[in-house]
Assembly symmetry: none
Homo-oligomer: 208 residues x 4
DNA sequence: CATGAATGAGAGTTCATTCAT
DNA sequence: CATGAATGAACTCTCATTCAT
């Protein structure tokens, strides 16, 4: 009556973990992970409005189990996005750290935003609308972007007057087009245009 | 316990209208118009997800009438947006025609897109997602933008390689930020940046 | 898929009412009445905790219809009880007015409370717990009881110091026994005892 | 992300308990007691409708243990009340035995009923509805009340014709008011009235 | 034998669409 | 041809009870 349990939790049991340390917890944790995995996938595909039952079905658990782990749909959504967002931001940090050229670091971030957008609807929806699923996430992201901005500024490659908020909004704004146009080459063009508008080649002051 | 039957449809029967065989037609047409008007307002305010009842209420007709004229919510939405879109595009034409400077015509269009976005949620949503409510609308819009593009191109003020699609997507993409940030000065900055990226100061080829 | 429509609305179309004056309203009113009737019956039988679906089923309407007439279960409950309470209090008024002897009027009221209790669980539950389904109901009831009390007091048949609140609480308190013991003769004995305790034969002051 | 497994059941394993074969038994018995204790407290506070989880939480055992000892919520409720009821009745016996004046013994019992009502919701609910949680309890209570009644009767202080059932019902009936009115002085008035109605000052026969 | 996670049948409520009047 | 009442599937969430570990 239920699929035989999807075999693929995203977060697999940590590599060298020995036989489950505690009788039950392992299974519960597996379920919890399965729910988040499923939720993440479902939210990514259909957005935040999907039926919770779809998530329960996909994760192979009953409604009760789902609600035992997450007291409300809202909570599940938040947690799922929080996790995704964190992973995403971590990757962003790594990439930026591995990139010497400040401008390339910035463009790399824009690229990551847009690539992710193609694969996770709910995640990027939250990025676009509020900057992230959580105040804390938004803050961290802002801090990260601010660092990027300062690097570029000090290298003299960023248009004067560009704020962190500008970068946040602009990167989010471009997300729309990824949803709209399936073709990657298409949205890369827009990204290039916007980034060029951010370059220090332009020195005219921005409004207000 | 119930109001004695509000005898007052918003559009009252025209005074001297004879019991002409066409009376019904006229009435129906009036209803149809009232529905579209109301739908337009409601969709603009609350987006495409509003309860259909709200539209019926606002237009002063019953649900049956509404569904007689429009077989589904979808249809009503499409038609309402079609109309709005056309009016909007007409205005865009007029403005562009009245603007001598090609570049100013282009920026003026971007500005109109974003200003409208602040006032008509559903309309711009469709613009962002598919370029317009209808294939036909999208086409007309594309033609218009193409004209703008050509004017700019011929004046040598547009970055080489920028396509009509680019302009369509880019203008739509900026819409997001209007929703997100309430402040007009905020989104004007992003618009400036994007437009600058479109200027002929940049001659590097765009990807693909 | 639904019973062919229970033929018996409690509130039948007013006697000499000619063919339904208004196209639809009549039917809707019938449904509304059917819902209240069903709700009243169901609440009376099972208390306030029944499934709303049971009411919908019993009244022969869909859930939507029920919720069209009453925005929430709470509202339906309140209205149903309000109606019952009013009818009940009206009858109480009539009886009291038709009874010359003040003491008999008081006992008659107690009797009515208990008789009703045997037939309407939710109604009397509200009477017992808060004095009625609504502040307004409670007030009216209090006023009525106060009148009864004054009549008895002036006739010198009521124990000195007995307050309106005492009478309200005492009548409610006896309700319990009706639920408990099915036999009418049983609870009449208790009523007699309590009423005797209220008689002016006792002149000892009440506590506090 | 989860507390490291709270190692602390409320009733910790007694220090020097040997790994005796009876160890399990003892443990089980301790659990059973803990459950009843918790259930009693919880039922007293919130009534019989509380979530079973609350009881498990409060007793420090898992749901499985709870259901091992008590096959259903109903059973647990019954047992908990049975125990409370017995203790309560024992106390009633003691008080009655320690009271010389028969009438004072009777009033004392009424007072105990009402005082308890203020402190143990579920217990008194069962008293009110069925006379007690169990046929056996009801019987014992009836016997006790009958003794009280006989003492009063023989002392000539009880209204002739008052049955044991009358006393049972009347004392239960007054419980309602304790729930309703918080003020102790308020329900004492009603109690006084009812008791006065039971006094031998009234010699009129009771109905039926 | 204890654990507490899992279950799933409802609960109250909403809304696009249909249909009797 | 208009009306707006009726429909009912779908939604989020709860809780008594079972079952794998």
């Amino acid at each position: 009556m239920r699929e035989p349990r999807a075999a693929a939790p995203t977060t697999a049991p940590a590599a060298g973990a020995p036989a489950a340390p505690r009788g039950r917890r392992a299974d519960a944790e597996r379920n919890r992970a399965a729910i988040i995995t499923a939720a993440t996938a479902v939210f990514a595909e259909h957005g935040a409005d999907v039926d919770v039952r779809e998530i329960a079905r996909r994760s192979g658990v009953g409604m009760g189990t789902l609600y035992r782990h997450f007291p409300s749909k809202e909570d599940l959504l938040r947690l799922s996005l929080e996790q995704e967002f964190t992973a995403w931001l971590t990757q962003a940090h790594e990439r930026a750290a591995a990139t010497e050229d400040p401008w390339q670091a910035l463009s790399g971030f824009f690229e990551q935003v847009l690539t992710t957008q193609a694969h996770n609807r709910a995640l990027m929806d939250s990025y676009v609308q509020t900057g992230g699923p959580t105040e804390s996430c938004v803050h961290k992201c802002r801090v990260f972007i601010d660092a990027l901005r300062q690097r570029c500024e000090q290298a003299g490659v960023l248009r004067p007057g560009v704020s962190t908020e500008d970068l946040l909004s602009l990167s989010g704004s471009l997300c729309t087009t990824v949803q709209t146009v399936g073709d990657e080459r298409r949205w890369r063009r827009l990204m290039t245009i916007s980034l060029d508008g951010l370059s220090s080649r332009h020195r005219e002051p921005l409004p207000s």
